[in-house]
Amino acid sequence: MENHFNHPQRQSKIGIIVLFADSLQKYARAFLPIAFIFVLKGDTINVLYLYLGLLAIVVIVGVIAYLRYINFTFYIDDQKEEFIISEGIFNKTRTSIQLNKIQQVNLSQNIVHRIINVYALDVDTAGSDTKEGNIKAVSHEMALALKSKLLENENKVKTTEFTEITDPKTNFSVPFLKIDLVSLFKIGITSNYVRTIGLLLTFFFTIYDGLSQAGKTDVVSSDNVNSLIENKPIIYVILMFIVVMFAVVFILNIARTVIKFFGYTVAKQKGSLVLSYGLINTKSTILKPEKVQITKVSSNYFQKKLNVLEIKIKQAVGHADNKNKNIIEIPGCNSQEADEIIKLLFKELPQEGEMLKPNFRKLGFSIFLLIIVPLSVFYSVGHWVKPVIFDYVSIAVFYAVAITILLCFGFRNYRLFVNDDYIIKQSGAWDVDKEIIQIEKIQALTTSQLFWHKNINIGSLTLHTAGGNVTFYLGKFDRINQLVNLWLYKLETQNSNWM
């Protein structure tokens, strides 16, 4: 039976459990201090009262969950083309979302949803984040039907764009890309080192701080550490430290990648991409090619050897603070699969075209900022304030060499490719990113030139899109201006659909 969602309807009956869990979680925080006191004074209070109290709480929360279920309805108003959600027990809230404003419909499952086999459905809009719809529990069929209904309605507005055959069988999930565990492993061991190390250090210092505040520093006192490393050459200790560090980072990275992206599938549905992934919480996201603003393909040396790469897709953002929400990651596809996805997004494979190189002063400036300035500070401190730090001169040298190598690679990879329809910015020293922008997605253009760069004719260019900015520093300014004129011409002579 086809459901048109024209009349107000409730969520899945079994979804009361989800609402119950949700409410329980909400009130648990409020009740926790009280419960804590009960437990502390456990011996003075009759256990019977404790159980009665707990039972009362469960019953109250149950009633609240039931009332929330009864009062929650949603439907599609065909005349006004709005999706309407009413909720609230005492304070009634009515949210109406215009169908053509809907940007994404996400299905997700947490552990409770999984057990009772229901889905949560989120509706994302392009505009403000206050007006977003969230349905806590619907059955799988209903979720899919509602999702396609919500999105199908939008397609009505631009019927010409999607002339694909909508065979009901192919309507739902014909995954054309599945990312297997091996690829996730590959991504896990080859990416995000810096982030994980940062997290580890934060974690370590938080623990250490907590311990020292509790006056228990002797757990990790220097005596302990000394006995562990005594009688061993210093190089051995450093090597051991590095090995342990890397092992931990690898394990954490793999665990994070697998938990987040387990069972990643990409399916085609009416010209959109449906992405679903997750081990504990399953997420399902719809991605519309025309809403994509910046597509970032990144890989590093190891990933190239292993033939995996990551794609990050930035969509239009309403507000600066929910930027992360609108980044969609596709980890661990090989280059053919990446090409397939890019072809789906752009209907063709963007070619690199003309290449713009940065001026050597870009390298000079970064060397000045990241090497000469810190080294002079190091030297001045050592010379005038504390000569002790000259003991660590080897670290300074190591730093200078490492950063120089990184900067040189970064400079060599720093390129802007321009062709008729696309702009591709390549950057990065280790992880090489390629950011692809369609010219029609540009919102505004900024050029910038330092006054002492006027005579040598170099300057910077910033492309503003609804998914963020992309800047190319110190290119040939003549050419940049010429390109800006060309792009302006292209933007102004056609009214393209940038979102």
Binding site: A320, A444, T447, S448, H464, N469, V484, N485, L488, E492
Partner: protein, 171 residues
């Protein structure tokens, strides 16, 4: 399909955004900027006088304090004048250009068909001089929004009407 042509674009024939002469801000806007500086420095002067009279450590440092004050004032006046001189704008047929910046000259161009909405902003001081600021908002967020200050109110109104018309046509 009747008169469809597809000539090769000559890049040198395209209108050059960097070469056109831009309109400077209205001279009264310089007065607005001056008054703002005057207010700020009056406030600092009051603080300085209070400090000299009530904090013992400042005794004997009066010359230092006032010469620093004068130096700061001179520097800020100089840079404000420079930034006023550097600011210029142009409303073209299809886009708006705004140029500003002392150390780096930054030129921003927003095509009208990317503008989401237009607003007119009048500060208290600006209103006394009959000035207004035209604000343009795009979907690109804060970085690609633009405010063109120092335009005479009637002119600003006209520009706003014009832009609204241009935006309406596209919808």
């Amino acid at each position: 399909m009747e008169t469809f042509t597809n000539e090769i674009l000559d890049l040198n024939q395209l209108p050059k955004h960097e070469a056109i002469s831009l309109t400077p801000l209205h001279p009264s806007y310089w007065k607005v900027m001056l008054i703002k500086i005057a207010i700020a420095f009056l406030f600092i002067a009051v603080l300085a006088i209070l400090a000299i009279n009530f904090i013992d450590e400042t005794a004997g440092h009066q010359t230092v304090i006032w010469s620093t004050y004068a130096f700061l004032l001179a520097i800020i006046l100089f840079f404000t004048r420079l930034s006023f001189k550097k600011k210029a704008y142009a409303f073209r047929e299809h886009d708006v250009i705004f140029r500003h910046g002392i150390i780096a000259t930054t030129t921003m161009v927003i095509p009208y068909n990317r503008v989401q909405h237009v607003a007119l902003h009048e500060g208290l001081l600006e209103r006394n001089f009959g000035l207004a600021k035209v604000e343009l908002f795009t979907a690109g967020g804060i970085a690609s929004d633009l405010g063109v200050p120092g335009i005479l109110k009637p002119q600003a109104e006209d520009i706003k009407q014009l832009l609204m018309g241009k935006i309406q046509i596209q919808l």
